[in-house]
């Protein structure tokens, strides 16, 4: 038994280079495991996307046949949402949350490790389902019944199993985040002194806890329909074909905000640091995060405007969907105002944050069109929606994630990612992204539905599709440069503990931090404890 206050000695069998990662309960290592694993899944999902775009480069192409194509877009969507964006954000939260609030670890370190391992196995189940009898699931990431009930083979069942496992992983993680935020904040860190990233994780986690059980319920009913002979979603036996859609989207729409709110948190950390200013309207941004979280629970049926719901319901969901644009707009204007009269440093992290502002705005504005349900009747289930959701999830989430990676990389590893390579890859990704997805708005308006494996050479379909495919290759090249940068960073420039002169507590300790995170934690008097510290040192003439 170790003496009080001293860390327990690590048994020798746990000290190996590999074993120490397998048995770790350190939030920082788990965070890195999350990021690395999700990064590998991102490569898998990205390859699927490139196959899809290659198939669509030409009209009447047969590079990939219809059945494989359906599997590809189903697993691409499921991978990017469940295995990439959500777990990457969990990775950031794992690594940063305890550091940002001055804690030694998460509230439940072992539960934390369990979350990660469940996530890993859930992901493996999903990707290996390509080898199941009959191939992977092919009903789209939404897997609407009755189509998904009648789907043959075991791909659909494995898809359900994988999502069940991932759901448990996310749920355990979310509970851990909430308990950590509520109980482990350091002295002086009141709610209005928490970093905005922590605010966003609080809302992210609460949303997950509220909506994941609904998804699990819907998936369980679907599984029972497929395997146990029930008829919840089988209309010919008295079931409802639409019920599942409510269960799915009650989860599925908040899920969109689950994927964007923490990214908004990242942006709210990055923009002030590289503008050398405090965030403009801290409380407005924190409150708008909560407001978006709340309203996101009331908009789910805007995915169902073509189902034929009563008019008053369509109207209700249109109004709530538009209301959510107000707090989103507040954030955008506050970020812009943070730039105003700043001392803007265009390091790669900042470039991604500014890129986020630019493209996420486009995704938000196309959201107004789809929220107006008569317009949605034209664009629903077309490439317009594909463009909209990629502007939000790639232009929003992935741009923000890349900003966060460039910003916190020196925290994680004590070394910088190369700035020159970073800028090259930023421009490739930024231009490639817009060239890929902007023309898809036009494709949708021209009448091209999503989830079709080919199209006829009419109108400008061929031209826009080809432009889009070329863009996706440019984007892939940019991402390759990023991967190269990551590999190269093993020998990257060493920097001090706080290369950006940042404001939040995670930069108070060494980079990378020791296992116990902090030797001491300063008393927190504002949401910028390190800025306060620097100012005090300046006043005393130390700095």
């Amino acid at each position: 038994m170790a003496a009080e206050g001293e860390p327990a000695p690590v048994p020798s069998w746990q000290r190996g280079r590999v074993v120490s990662w397998l048995v770790t309960v350190d939030h920082k290592r788990i965070g890195i495991l999350y990021l690395a694993t999700a990064g590998l899944f991102f490569v898998a999902g990205g390859i699927m996307a490139l196959l899809i775009r290659t198939q669509l480069a030409q009209a009447n192409e047969h590079f990939i046949e219809r059945d494989s194509y359906n599997q590809l877009f189903t697993i691409h969507g499921t991978t990017m949402i469940f295995l990439v964006i959500v777990p990457i954000l969990a990775g950031f939260a794992n690594y940063l949350l305890p550091l940002m609030i001055g804690a030694r670890d998460m509230a439940f370190p072992r539960l934390n490790a369990l979350s990660y391992w469940l996530f890993l196995f859930g992901g493996i189940i999903l990707l290996l389902s390509f080898f199941a009898a009959g191939g992977a699931a092919r009903g789209g990431w939404t897997s609407y019944p009755p189509n998904s009930v009648y789907a043959q083979g075991h791909g659909q069942d494995l898809w359900i199993l994988s999502l069940h496992v991932l759901t448990i992983a996310s749920l355990a993680g979310a509970i851990n985040f909430v308990v950590t935020i509520h109980n482990l904040r350091t002295q002086g860190m009141s709610w209005t002194r928490m970093p905005l990233f922590v605010w966003s994780i609080e809302v992210y986690a609460i949303l997950l806890i509220v909506v994941l059980p609904t998804l699990s319920a819907g998936l369980t009913l679907l599984l029972l329909d497929r395997q146990a002979g029930t008829h919840f979603f089988v209309p010919s036996e008295g079931g409802s074909a639409v019920l599942y859609q409510h269960a799915f989207w009650f989860f599925g729409h908040p899920e969109v905000y689950i994927m964007i709110l923490p990214v908004m948190g990242i942006i709210s950390e990055v923009i002030p640091v590289f503008s050398r200013k405090p965030i403009f309207g801290y409380k407005a941004i924190a409150f708008s995060t909560v407001a978006i979280g709340f309203f996101s629970l009331l908009v789910w049926a805007h995915h169902m405007f073509t189902v034929g719901l009563p008019s008053f319901l369509n109207a209700f969901f249109m109004v709530t969907s538009m209301v959510i644009a107000v707090p989103t707009g507040v954030k955008i204007f506050n970020w812009l105002a943070t730039l105003w009269r700043g001392n803007l440093h265009f390091d790669t992290a900042m470039l991604y944050a500014l890129g986020f502002l630019s493209v996420f705005t486009i995704g938000g504005l196309s959201g107004i069109f789809v929220a107006a349900f008569p317009i949605d009747w034209q664009v629903q289930d077309t490439y317009y929606v594909v463009a909209h959701l990629h502007y939000v999830l790639f232009g929003g989430s992935i741009f923000g994630i890349l900003a966060g990676l460039y910003y916190w990389w020196p925290k994680f590893f004590g070394r910088l990612l190369d700035e020159r390579l970073g800028k090259v890859s930023f421009w490739l990704i930024f231009i490639g992204f817009n060239v890929t997805f902007f023309p898809q708005h036009m494709l949708g308006l021209l009448g091209m539905p999503r989830r079709v494996y080919t199209y006829e050479d009419t109108g400008l379909l061929q031209e826009y599709n080809l432009i889009s495919t070329i863009g996706s290759y440019v984007m892939a090249l940019g991402l390759l440069v990023f991967v190269f940068n990551v590999i190269k960073s093993r020998n990257g420039r060493r920097v001090g503990n706080d290369p950006w002169l940042a404001d939040t507590l995670e930069w108070y300790t060494t980079s990378p931090p020791p296992p116990h995170n902090f030797d001491t934690v300063p008393y927190v008097t504002s949401h910028r404890p390190l800025y306060d510290l620097r100012r005090k040192l300046k006043e005393r003439g130390v700095l």
């Binding site: 059945d67 074909a241 407005a284 073509t306 034929g308 707009g329 009747w377 817009n434 109108g459």
Partner: protein, 327 residues
Amino acid sequence: MRRFLAVAVFAVLSALALTGVALAGNGGIAPVEPASPNAQRINDSYVWVSIFTGAIFLLVQGSLLYFIFRYRRRRRARFEDGAQIHGNTNLELAWTVAPFLVLVAIGAFVFWKLPGIQNVPAADAAGGRVDVEVKGYRYYWNFTYPNGVIAVDRLRAPVGQNVKLEVTAPAFDVIHSWWIPALGGKFDAIPGTTNQTWFNAEAPGIYRGQCAELCGIQHTAMKAEVEAMPRAEFEAWLDKERRAQEAGTSTLGKETFTGACAKCHGLAGEGDIGPALAGNSLVNDANAVEQVVRNGRGAMPPIGKDWGNRQMLALTDFLKEGGLNGG
């Protein structure tokens, strides 16, 4: 900075080039050229929303670019603070209230247009109305007219007359979505429920669309056409078709084969994802064909489980009479 400007100029130029191409044939900057009042009103709403979103787009991107240029670091070091401004209540209130007002304007316009888009004109409205049942099957559309005439994948309709569509799918099938862009928005064809929509074609012509809800392996092949023809011509066709279908001399069998069978078995029955039918003696056996069509087999869904005798007979006769050989 120079690099940034070069990229910005490139982006603007390519956007302009693209817009030019697009404007040349309404190439996708607004929904497909409307040919029916409901589609027209959706387009009006689209344009109305575009005005506001366009303004916001310019405002946000403009100020973003301006701030990036105006407040770039120049030679300032990292530890030089920018202006320490923590917020401004009045400004923040302004950009909470202003977007709200914009949304009110958008919402008001949309709700004003809504009845003209959504409400099916009454049966006794000027010019009368034709009611058609539209049923989505894997992977074809079956249309039934009030006089009992059946059509597959091509809906014939009169110009200048209201057409009401009752969109549904049979209980044993999956969800599809009916969508002819030029004639209005899409409505899901859901097993067990019926959705109503309408159009009033302004000019003769063929308006194309396709299923918009993933329905399985042949989703892409599930196309639909509306052929709008002058009213007298339509009425003559409908009456002639009724007599032909009642007498069993119509082309319904061929139409059904092309729509319901050929997508998987090939236009001449040569086989595709489904096995070849040409040369298979079973196709001459009406009972065997009916068995398969009503119950499905292996991966084949029960594509005609609820067909009436008229359509079933039309198909089996077509096959028996050597329809696969062009006879």
